[in-house]
Every structure is written in C-alpha cells, then in structure tokens.
Amino acid sequence: MKPFSCFSRNPDFRHQNEGQGRPVISLYDTNFTWLDWSIVACYLLSSVVIGLWANRYVGNLSDYLVAGRKLRLRLALATMTGTELGLVTVMYMAELGFMQQYASLYLAFLEAGSVLVIGLTGFVVYRLRESSIMTIPEYYEKRYSQKVRVVGAIVMVVSGVLNMGLFLKAGSQFLTAISGLQDEMSLKLIMTGLLLLVLFYTVLGGMVSVVITDLIQFLILGTGMLIVTGVVFWSIGWEGFSAIATEQNGYFNPFDPNNPSGKGPGIGWLQIIQMTIVIGSAAMLWPTSAARTLSCQSAAVAQKLYTLSSVSFLARRALPVFWGIGTFAFFASQPQLFAEFEHAVETNASITSLSAMPLFLAKVVPTGLLGLVTAGMIAAFMSTHDSYLLCWSGVITQDIVAPIVGPMSQRSRILVTRIAIFVIGAMLLVWGLWYEVSSDLWGYLAVTGTVYLSGAIPTVVGGLYWKRGSQIGALAAILGGLLGLSAMGPCVEVINGSFSLNVNGTHLTLLTFAFSAVVYVAGSLLFPDNSQPESVGSKTDS
C-alpha cells in the first residue's frame, strides 16, 4: 500500500476512493514490510551488544543500581525521558486522544506544570537527593524505622508490579496492529522473546546499560516522534483537524463531564482533581523518577533536571494525544472503517481502543520510516521495562530481603537483584496475558499507582517537613494505601453490587489519598516516636 495514496488533505475521505477504481481501505492494511522488520531486528541486536559491552563499567552495587551517582545533566535528562517516554505512554495517551480528543490534553498540562513547579521549588526532590539514599524505602528507615522500610517496600513492589502488569499487553497490541499480524499466538511469542531480551541485558549491565540504551532510545524515538507528528498533520491536514470541531462533535472542554463524541468516557471536575493529585505525587515519588533524582551528581543537578524535564513530560503526553486526535479524525471521516474497527473490538481479543492509533499509523507512515518508528517504540518499550525491573528488584534486595535476612555481601545483593528481575518478569508475563482491563489503560495505571503513592506522599512529605511525623503514622499511611486496590475495575463492581452504591475509580482513589493523609497525621499525633528524629536531608541555608 503506497503511503498517502488513500486520501488527500481533505476531511471528506469517505468519497475519496468510492467510484474511482481505487481499493477501499481495510482495517488491517499496513505499510509494514520486510524492510521494516530488518530495521527492527538490527536495532534490537545492537541493544544486546551494548548491554554486553556496558558490563565492564559495573564495579559495585552503586554502579549497578544508580550508575555510581555519576550522571550529569544531559545524560540524566536523556535517560529520564527515555524511561518515561515509553511505548506504553504513547499508547495510552493516544488512546485517550482517540476517545476524548482535545480534552485529554489536560493531562499534559497537569504533568508539565507539576514537574516544573517541583523543579523551580525543589519541593521534596532537593532534600531527598541531599539525604544520599539509594531508594525511597531507605529514606523510610532513616527517618522512621526499619519496620516502616520493609512494609513500605512491600507495598511499593505490589503497586509497581501491578502497575506494569499490562505493559506487555500494550506492546503486543502495538506490534499486532502496526505490522498487520493478526495471529494472536505469534505475537505472544514475539512479546515473550522481547521480554527475555530485556531481562538479559538488564541483568548483565544494571543501571549502566540502562543509561546508555536510554540515551540512544531517547535520541531515536524523540526524532521519530517529531517526524511522525509531522506526518500525521500532513495526512489529516488543518481541515481534517478542524472538522473535529465542526462536523464530528469533538470533545474539547475537560471540565464538561459529558463527552459529545460518544467514543469514550467524559472527564469532569472530580477526575481533574484526582489526576492532579496522582500526577503531582508521581512526579515527585514514583520510584523510577526518584531513581533518576538519586542518580544525579548533586541536589542542585536534580532540581535542574526536573525543571528541564517539564518539557519532556509535556511532549510525552501531548504528542501522542495529537496522534490519537488524528486517528479519531481519520476514522470519523470513514464511517465504514470506523464500524469495522468497532466490530473488531467486540469480536477480536487482540483489538481494543488501544489498537486504533497503530492501525492508523500503519496506513499513513511510509515504509522505512515506519520501521524506524517501530524500532524506536519497541526500544522504548524495552527501556521502560529494564528501568522498572531494575527499580523493583533493587527495592526487593535492599529494602525487603537485606533488612530481614541481615548483613549481606555485595555479591549476594547483586545475585538477589538478578533473581528478582527474573521472577518479576515471569509474573508480568502471566498477568499481562491473563488480566482484562475494564477501563482505559491510563485509568488502570492511575489506580494501581495510587496504592503506593497515597501512602508515600504523607510519609515522605511529612518526614521531610514535619518533625512530629512518627513511625506509627507512617505505617498507617502506607498500609492505608492498600485501600486503593478497591478502585480496580472488578473491585468497584463488587462494591457497587454489594452496597448498592454508584461509586467509581475516581471516588475511591480520592478516598484513598484522603484516608492515608488523615491516618498519618492522626497516627503521628496519637503515637509519637519516643525521641525526636534527626533532620534528614534538610536544605542548608546558603
């Protein structure tokens, strides 16, 4: 299929091919060819080689987990973006752009704003970096007690592994849609192979290979994303994007709880408040972001990193939403194709609303460029996996196993970390192939992230800025975060059915944050620590 041959920059695509002897577009048409597969294979092979080569720079656990705390600003910025700009982010933001059109851009605004404020003020991140810890749970022990560290680490790992549980499925749907492969089994095998590849070079090189591959991925994917954005705009045209407002009942105002397009859920005030809290908390304390902070050379570099990262965080959400909006414009202008897509969602287990964007890109992006973008996206997928795997396995080793078992050698710690990586990988495969998400993917991520964030926020903020925070308060807040599990789809159904309520994930998420904050304060006031804690990570006056 020739690129751009199916339509001109004209919103009236439905009449473009009819009666003109040109073939009607099929849902599974794609420009993906053997050339694109070759590009992807070459890229993945080179990632393995780099992982092997990077092993020579791993000397001790600090090198393995935080790159020896040697990251300078540009490298830290590239690797932070490389981790956070994953295939999953692109997929779920494009999904929201497809279902909620322009209104979904409020998330980009929220995240960029949060990160910028944190960067300008140094709130939390400055003091955390100054404390010279390697993980958030390590801070819990320094400030409160070892018990808080272990409990906090367990909740963090539960939340984190659940959170990344659907990454594999999202990646599978991307590859299925973009390559035109419809055989579910062959895609499952491909994704299993990719996961094994990630495990291989993560285990070998730790954070050092993560840093190097993140850098390459940032450069390739970043460039690819800008080019694809241009292709999307060229394909749909200004008239096509305007037609969303004039003809297709597009959704623009996120404060309006009703979605006029009818292609997805509405947003509204309450959800905006929920996302402000979730995104603001995650920007400070989501472990992978914190890991980058803790890898920086100094607290000042960490603060600068956040300020500059606000741009990357804005783009990582806004550009994929734009692709999703383009996808909506493309499908909305071709009712037959839209109907075929909606039928596929109902009948084919491997097609969901997540698949819309890659199905669209497969038709408009030319071969060669499609391979490069796919390689970049798969590389980003692997980059996200290796960073998260390293993060959670590091927490398991340092913050659960070591405190319980007692003194452990460096060699033992690295071994336990590597074993944890494989165990988590196996769990991801099972969960990703089995769990059916009931809402959009972003909704699932916000809920599972809440389990950790709702307890971490009062515990860390209180620990850094309130001397009266106690270990009982911290334990209560962290365990209170488990209430966030009630916001998962199946649990919401049970709650509404059992108690004749009409609550949703938004209500329960907000309730969880409020509950954790209240029990932290109440627990600290009612059960103070015996002695005043030392000031940990306090900012020195200049």
Binding site: D63, F252, S312, M408, S409
Partner: protein
C-alpha cells in the same frame, strides 16, 4: 469551543517546539558527558580491582 481549540493548539505547538529544543540541547553535549561518566565509572572499577574489594564481606 474555539477558545479551547486555540488553547490546545498552542499547547501542542509549544510542546513540539520545546521538545525539539530539548532534543538539540541533549544531542549537543551528551557525547562529552557520556565519555566523562564512563571514565568516572571505569576509574571506580579500576580502583576497586586495585584494592581487591572483598565482595563476600557482609555489609549492613
């Protein structure tokens, strides 16, 4: 609706342009930074080999 469209269009333009600037900023100096970082790490590795760190000594 047109007010919102204007706001979102400006946001999209800003994000695209700003991301391009970040891409150029990172590309410009990252090679030197990577070399310095890898040299620092190599120095760490060489030093730990020279002093034969006891990897099997239990640490808290």
């Amino acid at each position: 609706m047109y007010v919102w469209m204007t706001i979102w269009t400006l946001l999209l333009l800003t994000s695209g342009l700003a991301f391009l600037v970040v891409l150029v900023y990172v590309s410009y100096g990252v090679k030197a930074e990577l070399r310095e970082t890898l040299n620092d790490l190599k120095a760490d590795v060489d030093e730990s080999r020279a002093h034969e760190e006891i990897l099997d000594r239990p640490i808290e």
